[in-house]
């Protein structure tokens, strides 16, 4: 392995580690803020002190999650500056605006009202407190909005122009950046995933109380709120997931093909409901892609293009091209990309010696070919293929778990309303043991999104290998392990403090927080 590949791999591993750990904390905050806001609304509406106690208990777990997760995302910004400086420079102007808005508007809004929410129970009126709780929920979700707009831009860069003099992308259409369909669907799918995650969390812990036969009323009420919220948001999760897959099909067809293990494109393409990939399958051999598969006919064509008869390009089409379908091969894109890179070099050199004529001619060639500039850095066409196994299994794990969650919410709600939940130990245990599955679904979702778009740091524009800084891979390895230790420590602390708080129960929290 070349030194530059080693550096790229360690930089990616470190970023993945940081992002995955960070995402253990975020979705719970996104969803739990809304759940406590709903519970507090019921308290303010009914005046029932038990709802206040219920709200305060879940708020205490929210506080633990928030405090421990706080600032874990900032490490990714450190990594941008140190390990990914090429990338940071090139995207700087695009990321600057959404992240600045996130910092100024959403984060400050969230933080300010967080203080009122936690410390203002007996210091402000009930309505003012409730307003603060809702504003925390809205603020934390707005924070996610701006971050996901930035991420959506990397997946589908729009609303900018590359400046060949500064090597930066400059925003020329803010509306295009914020209403980027990829970003909008990503935001909706991500936050609704957080709502489902938080619902599973509340439901699972409440199930534990019922199994222990304690705090029964509190647990039942919590289950009704969380299962209802979870059911509604699960449906929204499915709708936003459909929209997200549609956008992936339009802008990242290779990711979709990898998610489905689809090597040969076809019309009436089906979705693999269950399947085992053939590890011997490569894009250039004739092995079968699956050892075993059960397919839902025509579903992929419908998901990707909203037509059962639509043609869905496979990995082979996207690598070797398909003239009938108007798909360029990676080799053709690599040729265009190399033209763009060479033209940029000529432009740069001509500008240095004030050769305006040559510079203008080179700029014209660059602009004609820059759409595929990133392909100019690929060494071979297979580099354009992401990990099919990781994309496929992550995607199918996420979808399978999402379906299970929907069923679980329906069952929980049904048995609670029928007053039969307490006798259903299998269901209570299912609710409890589904909490970690919620986290698995969250993480696999992000793996699909980020692994599926490889090799790109910015889609079609900048491969990850060109995005890194010129630093020693050993220094990245050191900080990788440093973060692994730090985050694992934080996770252990979170679990330990939360378990203590859960064991105290709804009556214990009022003495302790």
């Amino acid at each position: 392995m070349e030194a530059s590949d080693l550096l790229t791999d360690w930089s990616r591993a470190q970023f993945a580690l940081t992002a995955l750990y960070h995402w253990l904390f975020v979705p719970l905050t996104l969803g739990l803020t809304f759940i406590v806001a709903i519970m507090e609304s019921i308290y303010v509406k009914t005046g029932d002190i038990w709802w206040k106690k219920t709200t305060k208990f879940w708020m205490s777990l929210l506080a633990i999650n928030f405090a421990i997760g706080l600032a874990t995302g900032i490490i990714m910004e450190f990594e941008f500056g140190t390990n990914w400086s090429n990338y940071s420079w090139i995207v700087g102007d695009i990321f600057g605006a959404p992240l600045a808005i996130e910092g100024l508007m959403a984060f400050f809004m969230e933080s300010t009202f967080f203080a009122v929410m936690f410390f203002g129970w007996d210091k402000v009126s009930a309505k003012m407190h409730l307003t603060s709780t809702w504003l925390v929920a809205i603020g934390s979700n707005l924070s996610a909005l701006w971050i996901l707009i930035a991420n959506g831009w990397m997946q589908h860069p729009v609303g900018m122009k590359f400046n060949p003099d500064t090597a930066r992308n400059e925003m020329d259409n803010f509306a295009q950046v914020i209403f980027n369909p990829n970003a909008v669907s990503k935001f909706l799918h991500t936050v609704s995933g957080g709502y489902v995650m938080a619902s599973l969390f509340v439901m699972g812990i409440s199930a534990w109380y019922l199994l222990k036969k304690r705090d029964i009323l509190f647990a039942k009420r919590s289950i009704i709120v969380s299962a209802s919220f979870g059911l509604i948001t699960s449906i929204f999760l499915i709708v936003s997931g459909d929209e997200s897959a549609y956008n992936v099909a339009q802008t990242q067809p290779m990711k979709l093909a990898a998610m489905e293990g689809l090597y040969q494109g076809k019309t009436d393409a089906g979705i693999v409901a269950v399947g085992i990939l053939n590890s011997k399958k490569e894009v250039d051999n004739n092995e079968e892609p699956f050892l075993f598969e059960i397919e839902i006919p025509e579903a992929l064509s419908f998901l990707a293009y909203h037509s059962t008869a639509a043609y869905v390009p496979g990995i082979k089409d996207l690598v070797y091209g398909n003239k009938d379908k108007g798909i360029l091969s990676v080799k053709e894109k690599m040729a265009q990309g190399k033209l763009a890179v060479n033209a940029l070099r000529t432009y740069k050199d001509a500008k240095k010696i004030n050769d305006t004529k040559t510079a203008q001619a080179a700029l014209k060639v660059f602009e004609e070919n820059q759409k595929y500039m990133g392909y100019g850095y690929l060494k071979n066409e297979k580099q354009a293929i992401p990990s099919v196994a990781l994309s496929f299994y992550s995607f199918h794990t996420m979808v399978t778990l999402g379906s299970w969650f929907l069923l679980l919410f329906i069952l929980a709600l049904y048995f609670t309303l029928k007053e039969k939940l307490q006798n259903n130990k299998w269901l209570l245990y299912s609710m409890l043991f589904t909490i970690p599955l919620g986290y698995v679904a969250q993480e696999t979702g992000w793996i699909v999104a980020e692994v599926g778009r490889q090799p790109w740091a910015i889609q079609d524009m900048l491969p990850v290998g060109m995005a890194t800084s010129n630093v020693a891979s050993s220094s990245v390895q050191v900080t990788f392990w440093l973060f692994a230790i730090l985050f694992t420590g934080l996770l252990i602390a979170e679990v330990k403090i939360m378990l203590t708080q859960i064991k105290l129960g709804v009556n214990g929290e009022s003495k302790d927080v």
Partner: protein, 54 residues
């Protein structure tokens, strides 16, 4: 110890580790450390993007 106090302590220790130890010792901003102005940074990135062994 009350959970609130534990959390405040944890936040303080974590922020110290993140901003003082990790950021200061391990995560210098590569372009800010190695170049003095944006013109130099642009030239460096352009050189990276267009070097012949890419």
């Amino acid at each position: 110890m009350k959970v609130g106090k534990s959390l405040w302590l944890l936040i303080a220790v974590k922020l110290f580790i993140l901003f003082v130890v990790i950021k200061w010792l391990f995560f210098p901003n590569y372009l800010k450390e190695n170049f003095t102005n944006d013109k130099q940074r642009s030239e460096y990135i352009l050189q990276q993007l267009t070097k012949k062994d890419n």
